[in-house]
Every structure is written in C-alpha cells, then in structure tokens.
C-alpha cells in the first residue's frame, strides 16, 4: 500500500530531515508516527502527499511511484488522500458546509450530490447542526472535526493527520481519535503524526518512532 525505500530528504546540504528510511504500511493499517520535535514526522507526511519530493529513494503509494510525480499529476494523488492539520486550515470566509464542500467542488461534482455527501459526513461527525456557522465561532475540537469531514468527504483511501490533537483538551482529543478509529474500521488507511503519547498508549496501535530523521522502531508490520 505505502512503501518507502531508502528515502532521504535534505532541506539544506548536510542537514538531513530524513535519512535512509524504509517503511511499509499495508492497506487498512492504523499507525502513529512519533518522535521528538525535528525527528522528521511532518516531513514524512509531506513526502506522502507530495508537498515535498525526496532527495533520494522511492515512495510507492498504491503501486505508483510518487517520488518523481510531475506537478501536473499531483492532484490525482491528493484525491486519494485526506489530509488533516493541527491548525485545521479552514477558510474563515466560508461557512462549515462550504469548507467541506470545497473538497468535492474541485472534483466537478454536481451541486446536489455535493450537498448530500457533505450533509451525511457532517452528520457522521456530529457537527451537522453547525453547518451554517462560521468556523471561527466553533471550539477547537469542532473545527478539527470540520477539517476531518473535509478530508474524508471524497472517501479517500488514505488519511494523513499532522498533530491533529495539538491544542485540544483530553476529551476533544479522544473524540478525534474515535473518529479516526471509525474511519479505519471502514477500510481507510490512517497515519497520524503526534507528540501525544497518552493518546498513542490508549489507542494501542502500531507506532513508527523517528529520531533525528532516522527510523527507530516500527518500520514494518
């Protein structure tokens, strides 16, 4: 499903963000990426959705080598991947419904179908009653659920989350993790980069531990 072969990423000469990383994440897996700040967690996620290109090595997603994906084809990869960020990245000039609908508008889907799918997704995440609200008026946990709804609404095969519970309290964090577990149970591969070891322990899932850009544990299942 996701395979990395001898992947390295250098932002500046001689300062590697990732070094000789070999990783295998099978379809339907749920894995946490852990490690201290600067370990390379965010860089690894950026490589997976082609925000960055590896300096060396190969990355296969669904059997396709994305290490050398041309810019004009990146959108095809991102339509198969949902992405969630710590800062939510919601647009303040659109309401909750419109923020989620954006992920389907880019596919050119008919308006009626967009409305149906967005409604069902918001309902599934328990925020349908806030669909006309401005995202800035919501709590952190609610905003993150809107961001997750946007990431999931086009039914991606992979969900990537970068510190999704950063800044959220324990209850909101657990609720986000419950959503991820549910998504994973429906067949989506979930990869979560986090500092939150309490959550990692509670969930009892696979852990890929990085330190200074190197893989410490969890390279293969």
């Amino acid at each position: 499903m996701i395979q990395l072969f001898h992947v390295s990423k250098l932002y500046q000469k001689d300062i590697p963000a990732l070094q000789d990383l070999n990783l295998h994440v099978p379809k339907g897996d749920f894995a946490f990426i852990t490690g201290p700040s600067g370990a390379g967690k965010s860089t690894l996620l950026k490589l997976l959705f082609a925000e960055e290109q590896p300096t060396t090595g190969q990355i296969l997603v669904h059997g396709r080598n994305i290490a050398r994906l041309p810019v004009s084809r990146i959108h095809t990869l991102r339509r198969e991947i949902g992405i969630v960020f710590q800062d939510f990245k919601l647009l303040p000039n659109r309401n909750v419904f419109e923020n989620v609908a954006l992920a389907l508008e880019v596919l050119g889907m008919p308006r009626r179908e967009i409305s149906r799918r967005v409604w069902l997704m918001l309902k599934r995440l328990g925020i349908h009653h806030k669909m006309r609200a401005n995202p800035l008026t919501l709590s952190g946990g609610e905003q993150q659920r809107v961001a997750i709804a946007r990431a999931l609404v086009n039914e991606p095969i992979i969900l990537l989350a970068d510190e999704p519970t950063g800044g959220l309290d324990a209850e909101a964090s657990q609720r986000i993790m419950d959503v991820f577990a549910d998504v994973n149970a429906r067949g989506t591969t979930v990869i979560v980069a986090t500092h939150n070891l309490e959550i990692v322990r509670t969930m009892g899932r696979r852990v890929i531990h990085l330190d200074a850009g190197r893989l410490v544990t969890g390279g293969s299942t």
């Binding site: 959705f49 925000e51 810019v71 004009s72 990146i74 959108h75 095809t76 990869l77 991102r78 339509r79 992405i83 990245k89 647009l91 000039n93 659109r94 954006l102 992920a103 508008e105 880019v106 596919l107 050119g108 946007r150 086009n154």
Partner: protein, 296 residues
Amino acid sequence: MNRFLSSMGRAITNLRQNWLISTITIGIISICLFLVGGYLLMTHNLQGVFETWKTQVRVTIYLRDGFPEEDVLALQDRLSSLSEVHSVTYTSKDKALEEFSAMLGEDRFLIEGLDRNPLPSSLRITPRDPYRNLDGVKIILGAIGDDPLVQDIQYGQDWLDRLDRLFKVLDLGAIVLGLTLSLAAVFIISNTIKITVMARRDELEIMRFVGATESFIRLPFLVEGVIQGMAGAILSLVLLGGVHALLASRSEQPILTMLNIETLDFLPFSAIGAILLGGMVLGGLGSLASVGKHSR
C-alpha cells in the same frame, strides 16, 4: 461550457466574499487607466490642432511682370500635375491689389492714386497632406526649378522649420510618455493583484491539498481579474467622460482659445475599445501571473 460557467460563478462569489480588496483593486486599475485615457484624450485633441497648423503650410511664387497670361497658366498646370501638390491658385496683379485694399480697410487711401499697381501676380501652392512639412516643400521647390517667370518664392521658411522640429519633439514625447504611463499602469496593477492573491494564499493552498487541478484554481482567478479589469476600465471611462464634459462646458478657457480648439472631442471608439481591452488583459494576466507563483 459548464466548467466556464462554474468558474464564473466561483469568481463572482470570490469577488463578493473579498469585496473590500476587490474594490481597492478596481479603484487602482481605474486610476491607472484614467491617467492613460487622459493622456490619450489630450493627444487626440491636440492632433486636431496640429492638423490645422499643417494646412497652413503654403508655397507662394511671386511672378515677374510682362509675361503673357498663357505662360502663367502653363506653369500653373505644370505645378498642379505634381503628385505632391494638392492645388495651385493664381492671383492676378489686379486681384492682389483688390485683396490688399480690402485688407487695409479704412487705410486704403494709402494706395489710392498710385500711377501703377506695385503688387506682383502670384501662384499659391497647397501641398498634399503627407507633404505639408519642410521635406515636402523642398520637393516642390525642386520641381519649380529655374523658371524665368519666378521672381521670388516665399514659404515661411523659419516658421516651417520650427513647426517641423516641434512635431518631431511632440512625436517622441508622445511615445515616451505613452510607454511610461502604460508600463507604470502594468506595474501597479500586477502588484495590486499580487496582493489580492497573497491575501488568499490559504485558499489556494487548501484547494491544492484537496486535489484541485491547476486550471480549476486558475480559471476563477483569471475570470476575476478580467472582471476587475473591465470594471476598472469602465470606471475610468466614466471619470474621463465627467472630466471631458466639465472642460467642454467651459469652452472659453484661455488654454483652449490659445490652441484654437473650438470643440473638445471625447476619445474615439478605437481608444475606448483599447482601454476596455487593456483593462481586461491587464487584470487577467496580472491574476494568472500572481497565482502561478504559488504553484505546487
């Protein structure tokens, strides 16, 4: 078609959602195009003045006395047939005296009682349009040659010399000023649009993260830029129209009187079209160039 309509819809929604920055952009585009349009309006009206001046370019041949009229008419025919010549008017000695007398008015007693008419007969040559300058006059002088009938030739050499130099300076000035204004407009407009795109970089980033194609992202920006450019151009034309109406209603202004401008024209259709098209092209290209810088 569906894709274009959807882009159009999204562009209008974006304009509405970002109305403040859109209004500022339209305002700046209109000010830039107003300056360019004002310059065009000025040159268009001065062009008429220059044309009037050019029609005053004449060559007058004063003829010797004592030649039969057939010789004069033969010279007139020969000069009329030149391709550089528009018309040749013959003024006889008697006619010249009559005109001079009329010109003197109440002082005509000064020439009464002369025992003979002192004024020579003359041929007045009006050159064709492209030859109403120093070079054209020189060609005509060459064609007149050493004709025994010719006593003297007058063509206001000093005046024509100065007019020729003035036209050359004005032509160069028009090109330099026009280019400077247009380049300044392009620079200011593209930077203004860059600011609007920068203000929406989060939106661009998110659209890319959710798998939007480059054309899906760029098309509404292109449409938005074209709409803003067109709105700015229309606004600048309305402002120009207002300024024109104001000036035209005060036609006794000293500057207009001095330049002999009786009616102040508005811009010709070609210039109006150029401003509208220029606004749309500037807006569209400015948007595209700015969005392109945020690729990947």
